[in-house]
């Protein structure tokens, strides 16, 4: 399964994503520079975290208009797998591939901490190796991570089961206290209608190896591989 990690000026988590695919999944992976317009035949795109274009104007706004995005949008609309992490999630909402937007944290601060997430959906290419309602630990590192959307969009996401991760406590309870940033309905990650594009604020690539203090994030990547090997790629 061929992976591509899109790199913008100001991306900062691309090497971690590359490492996970190359060393842990042991699958082919390449960097895709934002000014290119060739996705090199990859099967899955990762839009990594960071501060693309300094997040000037709005987080992800300028990156979502860079040359490679035209191809990324076409790839996503055709059903290609895209994982957007943190700034990548912001870029995907700005590009219109995912609904809603991410605004400044309720605290007005950059927050870097572990969060507990409840896996709300396991019937996606990104989460098939988790169990339904499993509580996992994945860190966040963002200043603009509060997910917002209009009432209709939010109702639709809830009704269609497109909220994939929610911030919770150890018991898996979703409460205002377990919400680190003020995201509506404690949303940490959502998927598009077709089910091929996932955006999430927490960083799975930062906890994909025991030596890093946790392996819960690794299963996002191994889910993708399992899904692909299960026949989706043929």
């Amino acid at each position: 399964m061929k992976f591509g990690v899109v790199v913008f000026p100001g991306s900062s988590c691309e090497a971690d994503c590359y490492y996970i695919i190359d060393q842990i999944l042991q699958e082919p992976v390449s960097y895709l520079w934002h000014a290119e317009q060739d996705l090199r035949g990859v099967d899955c795109l990762i839009i990594p975290g960071g501060y693309a274009y300094g997040n000037y104007l709005r987080a992800g706004a300028i990156a979502s208009n860079s040359p490679i995005m035209e191809k990324v949008i076409a790839f996503g609309k055709k059903g290609g797998l895209i994982l957007g992490i943190c700034n990548g999630f912001q870029i995907l909402t700005e590009a219109g591939l995912l609904p809603g937007a991410l605004i400044k944290n309720r605290s007005l601060r950059f927050q870097c901490e572990n969060t507990l997430l409840r896996v709300e959906q396991t019937n996606t290419p990104f989460t098939s190796t988790y169990t339904q309602h499993e509580v996992i630990k994945i860190p966040i590192a963002h200043e603009e991570g509060a997910y917002v959307a209009d009432k209709e969009t939010l109702e639709r996401l809830e009704k269609e089961g497109r909220i994939v991760f929610r911030y919770c406590n150890e018991q898996g309870e979703i409460t205002p206290e377990t919400n680190p940033n003020g995201a509506l309905n404690n949303i940490a990650g959502i998927i598009n209608e077709q089910g091929n594009i996932l955006g999430m604020m927490p960083h799975p690539e930062r906890c994909a190896e025991a030596i890093l203090g946790g392996e819960d994030g690794e299963r996002i990547f191994s889910s993708l591989l399992a899904w692909w090997q299960g026949g989706a790629g043929r």
Binding site: L57, R58, A61, I62, N65, T93, E94, P99, G100, A101, I103, K104, N105, R106, S107, L108, A146, V148, A149, D150, K151, G182
Partner: protein
């Protein structure tokens, strides 16, 4: 030549945490009669051309293509003719 002055603010339905923080700070300074504070962005664009209608259309296009995110923001444009 035109100068477009664009004011971008969060929609009323979007919580504005920066505005709330400034509101609190003003209250703590004793300005008890402050009812609400909304923060926003101010953008000035110098645009070549001499057709005001055309300039306005272009500015609105720029707003919808890049400057404003309609999911969370709304905007107002003031267009003034300036000397080259």
């Amino acid at each position: 030549m035109f100068k477009a002055i664009i004011t971008i603010t969060f929609k009323k339905s979007i919580l504005d945490p920066q505005g709330n923080a400034v509101h609190k700070a003003l209250k703590s300074l004793g300005y008890e009669d402050v009812e609400d504070v909304r923060m926003g962005k101010h953008v000035e664009i110098l645009l070549r051309g001499d057709e005001p209608q055309e300039a306005e259309t272009k500015i609105k296009e720029m707003c919808s293509n890049l400057l404003v995110n309609p999911v969370i923001e709304e905007y107002q444009v003031e267009l003034v003719e300036v000397e080259v």
